[in-house]
């Protein structure tokens, strides 16, 4: 039996190669913009949602943001942070009774997911791993 290699963990916390994993998974087009403190990769997925991945000069993805008519696959773009996210989301859900925006703020992970109808946006980052000269508000 032929074993296929598992794809590398993608996106947040991954390296610049994971951007291309995401692009492949989303069947998207990629636009790259080089800045002074980070490189921004914009992937427009098949359903029209744009995912922006922020890559440090060292090649690490330190933030992701999204905007569009569908929610992106958070397991894909949160990578190794997904389990932490999922646990926090379920705990919040069990406690908060009812439906609203999602806001997770932990020392090692911030996830914001908002939207309505066919307009969704959000972002995720690890506040401890922002490169020098970058603030959380750059990720949007």
């Amino acid at each position: 039996m032929l074993m296929l290699p598992l794809p590398a963990l993608a996106a947040l916390g991954g390296d610049v190669a994971s951007v291309h994993e995401d692009q492949a998974q989303m069947k998207g087009s990629l636009k790259t913009t080089e800045g002074a403190t980070f490189t921004l990769h914009e992937i427009k997925g098949a359903a029209g949602t744009v995912v922006r991945e922020y890559v440090s000069p060292e090649g690490a993805v330190f933030g992701v943001a999204w905007q569009g008519p569908a929610i992106p696959n958070l397991q894909q773009i949160l990578g190794s942070y997904f389990d932490t996210f999922s646990e926090a989301a379920q705990a919040q859900r069990a406690a908060h009774r009812g439906r609203g925006a999602l806001y997770i703020q932990q020392p090692g992970l911030v996830v914001e997911s908002t939207g309505h109808a066919h307009t969704f946006s959000g972002r995720a980052f690890d506040p401890g791993k922002l490169p020098q000269g970058v603030t959380a508000n750059d990720i949007r």
Binding site: A46, Q75, Q92, G98, H116, R140
Partner: protein, 603 residues
């Protein structure tokens, strides 16, 4: 559970013998023993009867007949037969099935199968929930089937609000009290005299005044009985769901009213006895499924089915709905989207269903009647909303399919005729916390119904199903009103609660705020003042309460909204905004007398 009343005979009791049957050597007798898969059947049920024939050297087996009791035989072989009980069994009895040896016709055996009587059922007319004015009356009749003793029903109401007059064994009149102070739900119950476990109920909501067929009672309460945690700020109505074109219906309580989505979604587990027709692809027989994804990666999955939807006196006929599947398997990854919570129980959904009465006629439209699921938008792919699966279930790798608007999950409001241009939600003021509150969902805006005029409300034109909210020096250009959000959610520097309530704000004390809503194009403008309380304190000080007027939480991060619309650009006016207001939601493309064409919000 009814007791057995019929003769019960165990299988294989009767052995008959004969000599000299053809093909069987003299002296060795053929014997037949019979057994049945079930020895007691309800009307219309089937079982297999099996014969074991000994010494049948020619292996000719048996032939089958019904000696008494009626019913039918099918799938006959030399050693088995399927017996189907009669569809109607007026009194308990039994059927006798006889097997005769083919080789030796004088050898026979028989088995008796008990036939249960048809259970008593009660159908009330009217069947849909009734909404009446104080002082009004509702005549109700009961039609019983299989009530062989003709004993009929007895009638009762709970709570004891109003009275019953002229009761007979099949009819009664409910008389509402001359005055009620708030919307009051009364359950009228008919109980079979012959079988007291058999009941039927009718929900009657008595309004203080102004009730009409286009009004349904809304309750904000702790949620469906199966839910252990009380829901917060979730408005519910009862909806009657019927097999299209029939009186085969079920009334389901605790359907969440959501102005932020379009279409009815109901848990399959709460309508197990209702056989709704599924939408299928005629080219391959596959069933069409619908998928909904939520912000926290939870999702809904289930077949698209057709139902007549009755709410108050309104009917949306042959409406496509999503029946939320009880199964957790056979769901494409494009639907689960990495999520782990399949909200397919009342506990997880915090409701028995969701009725989307929002701005769009189906779940796929965006403002301007742009359809995101039918393939008409060339610049992007389809929303992951529709899939098709064979009866074995979908494959994980299946991708979404295009589906035309006429077959999409449809906003029932758009199908109710004269009052189909939108809805109004009216709820009383909730200053801090209340156990429950009652209000109204009114169909139609400025229609001939006469009870749904705009009054002093202001209408806000929209762009992209949004308007702008100016709050704390932020122009939040993608803001919206949504009864399906349980708080006011907006980007602010107010302190967020510690986990697990970090989706809410926890200021030190009650905090007064104000914002202004601005219609698309820059007008009109209206200032809204509101209070934000500490959510932990609200929840801890009011255990079990369901209505919270000052519940609010973060929507992203303050001061990140850019002119390009990236960052946190939304103010979500959730249910606390509805308390103490009449909030109008007009459907995209629908015309509203003296106002214009939807979509718009008004309040």
């Amino acid at each position: 559970m009814r007791a057995f009343s019929a003769v019960l005979l165990v299988a294989g009791l009767v052995f008959l013998v004969a000599c000299g049957g053809g093909g069987t050597p003299a002296g060795i007798q053929i014997t037949i023993s019979l057994s049945a898969g079930a020895t007691s059947l309800n009307p219309g049920q089937s079982t297999t009867v099996t014969a074991v024939v000994a010494n049948d050297s020619s292996n000719k087996g048996v032939s089958w007949a019904i000696s008494s009791g009626g019913g039918t035989l099918s799938n006959q072989t030399s050693t088995s037969v399927t017996y189907t009980a009669p569809a109607s069994v007026p009194t308990a009895t039994s059927a006798t099935i006889t097997a005769t040896s083919v080789a030796s016709p004088s050898v026979m055996a028989s088995i008796q199968i008990a036939l249960q009587t048809s259970s008593i059922t009660i159908a009330l007319s009217p069947v849909a929930p009734q909404t009446i004015n104080q002082g009004a009356t509702v005549p109700v009749t009961a039609k019983l089937t299989n009530d062989t003793s003709n004993k009929g029903v007895t009638w009762s109401i709970s709570p004891q609000v109003g009275s019953l007059s002229s009761p007979t064994s099949t009819s009664v009149t409910y008389d509402a009290p001359s005055s009620v102070t708030s919307n009051t739900l009364v359950i009228l119950t008919a109980t079979s005299v012959a079988s007291t476990a058999t009941t039927a109920t009718l929900e009657i909501t008595v309004f203080p005044s102004g009730a009409a067929p286009n009004v349904a009672a809304v309750t904000v309460d702790a949620g469906p009985a199966a839910t252990t945690n009380a829901s917060a700020n979730t408005p519910y109505i009862s909806v009657t769901i019927c097999v299209p074109g029939t009186q085969t219906c079920q009334t389901v309580d605790h359907i969440e009213v959501d102005t932020g989505s379009s279409g009815l979604r109901i848990l399959q587990s709460v309508i197990p006895g209702l056989s709704l027709p599924s939408l299928t692809d005629s080219s391959n027989g596959d069933t069409v499924f619908n998928c909904v994804q939520f912000l926290d990666t939870s999702y809904l999955w289930g077949p698209v089915q057709q139902a007549d939807i009755r709410i108050g006196g309104e009917v949306a006929g042959s409406t496509y709905i999503q029946t939320i599947s009880s199964s957790n398997t056979g769901i494409p990854a494009a639907c689960t989207n990495g999520g782990t919570i399949n909200e397919n129980t009342p506990e997880l959904l915090e409701a028995n269903g969701i009725i989307g009465v929002g701005l769009e006629p189906t779940d796929c439209y965006a403002q301007g009647l742009i359809n995101l699921c039918d393939g008409s938008v060339q610049t992007q792919g389809l929303l992951p909303a529709y899939f098709e699966c064979p009866s074995s279930g979908c494959a994980s790798t299946d991708v979404q399919i295009p589906i035309d608007a006429l077959h999409q999950v449809t906003n029932p409001v758009a199908l109710i005729g004269a009052d189909g241009n939108g809805v109004i939600i009216q709820l009383p003021v909730v200053t801090s916390a209340d156990a429950t509150v009652s209000g109204s969902l009114i169909f139609g805006i400025n229609t001939a119904a006469g009870n749904n005029g705009l009054g002093s409300a202001t209408a806000f034109p929209l762009s992209g199903d949004s308007f702008a909210t100016n709050f704390s020096n932020q122009a939040l250009t993608d803001s919206f009103i949504d009864s399906g959000s349980n708080g006011l959610f907006f980007p602010s520097t107010i302190t967020v609660c510690p986990p697990p309530n970090s989706s809410f704000y926890c200021p030190a004390g009650l905090t007064a705020e104000s914002a202004s809503n601005v219609g698309a194009g820059g007008s009109p403008t209206s200032i809204v003042t509101f209070n934000v309380d500490n959510a932990d304190t609200l929840f801890n000080s009011n255990p079990g309460d369901a209505a919270f007027g000052t519940l609010a939480g973060p929507q992203g991060t303050a001061n990140t909204c850019t002119a390009q619309g990236t960052g946190s650009c939304s103010f979500d006016w959730g249910l606390p905004f509805f308390y103490g207001r009449s909030v109008f939601t007009a459907i995209d493309g629908a015309s509203v007398t003296n106002v214009g064409t939807g979509p718009f919000w008004a309040y």
